[in-house]
Assembly symmetry: C2
Homo-oligomer: 330 residues x 2
């Protein structure tokens, strides 16, 4: 009988200890969109899973070695920038003028410092460009050729614009342009995938950082800037609440201040991370725009929310356990 009570006491204690211990330390997304099981073969799923696991592990290695959350964010995002499956770095979508104009931003939750680059074509890693703006300049946001000159001056790796070219992104631009001539939309919103990538990390010092990197919208023109390089819209981090990275129809994420709205709902309305994440996406959905977000609280709780059929998303816990998901959960 004594043993029975001992077991009854132990089981919840063990479960609770497990729940207590398993903080999530890094969460990533590779974009939201019309990501459904019928669109991917088993080998494609396996390849996408592998690159997302590689991104998680690259960020995790930084945290495990006692590194800073912002460096973990950069390490994880760089894996996705280098992979042509995502709309960031190599594989970025093309503008109307047939260039790859890349945007990225990063924010640190401890001191609310932030950095961003918009419309850059020759910085090999746009997320590293954003980190460098935060750490090495008095500014938050640099754009175009000026941002490139800054990056070169600092000594970042520069590339020829063709470095980011992929045939599939170029072909998709031609399809969208043809569709536009026939009176179609600026971008195909049906059958569409917002392949923006993002990451939120929590380091051993309890500091959060969030980052986002993207090529923006296929066929974008007129130097259009979306939400990804805008602090408060596509990216936000605050140790008092959480870190957030968004993906979706950028104009609506700007108008709704999506990333900072989530933090403000927690800080000022006392809302839970889960409820706040859902409200942000519901508010955007009410404007008939789609997208998703990932969020990680300073307690190591992870939340994602999206209004599309799927979102590439994954997290890793402090013990190194990984979870990768693509589709809507039943």
């Amino acid at each position: 009988m004594a043993r029975f009570f001992w077991i009854l006491t132990l089981i919840p204690t063990l479960l609770f200890a497990q729940a207590e211990e398993e903080r999530i330390v890094l969460v990533i997304h590779g974009g939201a969109g019309w990501i459904t099981p019928d669109r991917y073969e088993a080998d494609e799923e396996a390849a996408l899973t592998a690159v997302m696991q590689a991104a998680l592990q690259a960020g995790y290695a930084v945290i495990e070695q006692g590194g800073m959350a912002e460096d973990a964010v950069v390490a994880a995002i760089q894996v996705m920038e280098e992979d042509s499956n995502f709309n960031a770095g190599i594989g970025a979508v093309f503008t109307h003028e047939e260039t790859n104009d890349l945007d990225a931003s990063i924010m640190r939750g401890g001191d609310l410092n932030a950095g961003a680059v918009a419309g850059v074509r020759t910085i090999k890693s746009p997320i590293e460009g954003a980190l460098t703006v935060m750490n090495e300049s008095p500014h938050v946001m640099l754009s175009g050729r000026g941002a490139e000159a800054f990056a070169e001056e600092i000594g970042l790796e520069m590339v020829d614009p063709s470095y980011f070219y992929t045939k599939s992104a170029f072909d998709y631009l031609q399809k969208v342009k043809a569709n536009e001539k026939n009176g179609g939309l600026l971008d195909g919103t049906q059958d569409h995938k917002f392949g923006t990538v993002g990451c939120v990390a929590l380091d051993e010092s309890g500091n959060l950082a969030a980052g986002t990197s993207t090529g923006g919208m296929t066929n974008k023109r007129w130097g259009r800037i979306g939400d990804s390089p805008i602090i408060g819209a596509g990216t936000y981090a605050n140790n008092a609440t959480c870190g957030v990275s968004c993906t979706g129809w950028g104009e609506f994420f700007i108008r709704n201040q999506a990333a900072y709205q989530l933090s403000a709902l927690m800080e000022y309305a006392g809302m839970s991370l889960e409820d706040a994440a859902d409200k942000v996406i519901q508010d955007i959905d009410a404007m008939e725009a789609k997208g998703g977000l990932i969020a990680l609280s300073s307690k190591g709780e992870c939340q994602w929310s999206f209004s599309t059929p799927g979102m590439f998303r994954a997290y890793i816990t402090e013990s190194g356990k990984m979870v990768v998901k693509f589709y809507t959960e039943e």
Copy 2:
């Protein structure tokens, strides 16, 4: 004795009725900074007062004729863009490369639509450029040469970049550059005036709109984008709360999401307009950065807050009564 009571009753009734009736319909600022009585001669004060009154009246005329709040904002700001006393349009500060790179944004409180231009050199009225992005494009933010191509395509008035030149702004750049060579700051933060202009208007339909226009920071480089063209940082409007336009050290207004923070404090924390306006400026002051803001609620209550010795600011009530102020109130 009866007459005495009648008077006692009448006075507060009249005062209350006055307070009820006199909604403020338009508020403007011409920048915050080291604006102190010893810096301005009587004729300079008179000239600045006259242009601020002209801006108020230009916006008021739109509202009086039943026009929309966003058109009132544009009309008021255009008066200040055309006046060389302010850092917007003619009289804008110079970049490190000796160009005038202009930023502006506008937001409508009814549907949260917004428009912005960043780093433009040839659009005669940057605030009209922002309005046109909101009304005539699917985008919120356009930048650089692309934004200019869009404006030209739409038919906005274009000018040679020299249109914005003033000797005083050019001379000030040379002074800052010389100071920089001697190890001084990027921009003189002491003895400094942030001459950004802004406006919030409330139209007869009860719709709010807010707008901001600026040349940014003297000696800015690398395509730096400040808070003025960033929705949520320098400009925000929401009929549920208020409209806001900011001026100051832009990087800190971005990091603190100043304009939207004010609205979020009202919407989610139930804070009054006055307390929210003060908290936003206090939070920025706690980071040792200076600036100010104007806000107008959907009830026609006006509030301003600033941490500098002065701010050019003024409002007009629905009956046309104008109040113009420059310095800290005792």
